[in-house]
């Protein structure tokens, strides 16, 4: 999984959580909550969906890493790539 694919995976999750939002024009560097309506419960939803869909556990102290699509990709990419590898070898 590439970093761009991680961004797409996060956008897919956000599309489920915030279905009224237009995600096409999201700036990858800007904070998500400054661009679309996302509150703390929504961020918990993102964390939950990452766990369900990709088996990725994001500890509470790392929630700040999910601020923008770019920071999501930077933080999640190693974990999601590792999960992908495990699945391939399973």
């Amino acid at each position: 999984m590439t970093k761009d694919e991680v961004k797409e995976a996060v956008k897919d999750i956000i599309a489920t959580i915030a279905p009224d939002e237009d995600l096409a024009a999201l700036d990858h560097e800007q904070l998500l909550r400054d661009q679309i309506e996302l509150d703390s419960m929504d961020f918990l939803d993102i964390v939950m969906e990452l766990r369900k869909r990709y088996g990725v556990q994001v500890p509470e102290e790392a929630y700040k890493e999910l601020g923008s699509l770019h920071s999501c990709a930077e933080y999640l990419h190693p974990m999601m790539a590792e999960m992908e590898l495990k699945l391939l070898n399973a």
Binding site: I17, A18, P19, D20, E37, M41, L44, D45, M48, R51
Partner: protein
């Protein structure tokens, strides 16, 4: 009710299995159109249910629909429709002077079952349990979702009253208006019960779940072959105001709440007690300053169970058996049992009778059970009685809670 302000109904919002507003609902009641359909639910399998088809996104974003509950969504739809129907500007009333009182049979079963199923897909690992569970399952959820949606800052809570919940919500709203706690009440009842498999399984285990090859004929109170309840979802919320306030703002008034009574059987978890139901009706009549002959429609609670219908009919017969001016009907024969919404939604179906003088019938009665027979029953065909001035609305629930609400033309 001397020395207390008069309370009137000025707006109605409803979601019924056979209608998304009062006009459609009433037309279908007079045309004999059922809202019961085939239905299937996890673990339980195939059954029937009364299913609503209102446009939830009329008043909610898709995000809030996802975050909230079905009961909350039903309540939001009904509350917005009621306020619109009443022609009230909440800013003029004062949003802090509006109270939301929503009757429910139960709340939280749907959401709890869903979460247990969800974690079962992950080996019962509770780290997959949703952070939305608590706000979805608190008892005030349906009323609270209304305040969030409409920016109402007055009191809100649910009135848990089993299947009497709808009547109790209305009564609570009226009482808060009489006490001066609020200047407008949005009140009634809602149900999301068709989304919990447990309610179907429990009624089945009690031998109280209805069956028939034709879904529209499963709910058949008073019919000799009736064999149980149809579980339904739905809601009905009213705007109530003090009579003087409603007149001052030139509101259309549907009816005045003439009186009510609530009591308890103190007898059994499930089985009703006809003597106490009778006492409840008589006390409501007394408080309304009326006798049996003054009541033109009795809207029965009867749920289509073999024993419950007989017991209720015994109680109604004891009060109204000698009245030649009382017509008796039942709305569950069309829409099934909308549980916490039942009292409110069944009253709404009868309110247009105050205008058109027509009483909608109990449908699906092919052979009247002699033990349910009594003078005044309106069966299968609407009855034009010319003038209807009053309605007695009955709603009873498990643990032996009884409610009787009298409304009259203003």
């Amino acid at each position: 009710m001397p020395d207390l302000p008069r309370i009137v109904i000025t707006g109605i919002g409803l979601a019924s299995p056979n209608g998304n507003d009062l006009g459609e609902y009433r037309r279908n009641l007079l045309a004999g159109v059922s809202g019961v359909q085939p239905y299937e639910i996890r673990y339980f399998g195939k059954t029937v249910a009364g299913i609503c088809h209102f446009e939830a996104t009329r008043y909610q974003s898709r995000k809030t629909l996802r975050r909230g509950t079905r009961a909350g969504s039903v309540a939001i739809y009904c509350a917005n429709e009621a306020v619109k129907d009443a022609g009230i500007d909440l800013d003029v009333v004062g949003r802090h002077r509006v109270g939301v009182y929503v009757g429910t049979t139960e709340h939280g079963n749907v959401e709890t079952e869903e979460q247990i199923y969800e974690v079962s897909q992950y080996g019962y690992d509770l780290s997959y349990w949703s952070h939305h569970h608590n706000p979805r399952t608190v008892a005030n959820n349906p009323a609270g979702e209304v305040t969030l949606n409409m920016g109402i800052t007055g009191p809100h809570y649910a009135v848990g009253g089993a299947c009497a919940g709808g009547n109790l919500g209305i009564i609570q709203g009226a009482q808060m208006l009489q006490l001066g706690e609020v200047d407008m009440a949005v009140c009634g009842g809602v149900s999301e019960s068709i989304h919990t498999f447990g309610i179907f399984a429990s009624f089945k285990a009690e031998g109280a779940l209805g069956e028939n090859s034709d879904p529209t004929r499963v709910s058949r109170p008073f019919d000799k072959s009736r064999n149980g309840i149809v579980v339904s979802e739905g809601g009905c919320l009213y705007t109530l105001e003090r009579y003087e306030d409603a007149v001052r703002r030139g509101a259309r008034i549907y009816a005045e709440l003439a009186g009510w009574h609530v009591n308890s059987d103190a007898a059994d978890f499930v089985l009703p007690l006809p003597e106490r139901q009778q006492q409840c009706m008589e006390a409501a009549l007394q408080r309304s300053g009326m006798g049996p002959e003054d009541i033109h429609i009795v809207s029965t609670h009867a749920t289509s169970t073999p024993l419950g219908d007989i017991q209720e009919c015994g109680a109604v017969r004891a009060v109204f058996g000698n009245s030649r001016t009382t017509n008796i009907n039942n709305t569950k024969s069309y829409i099934g049992h909308t549980m916490g919404a039942a009292g409110a939604i069944e009253l709404a179906g009868n309110l247009p009778s105050l205008l058109d003088g027509v009483v909608h019938p109990t449908i699906n009665v092919e052979e009247l059970d002699p033990e349910c027979d009594m003078p005044g029953l309106v069966l299968n065909e609407p009855r034009n009685v010319g003038k209807v001035d009053t309605i007695l609305n009955l709603s009873f629930g498990m643990l032996g809670i009884n409610s009787a609400l009298v409304v009259k033309r203003v």
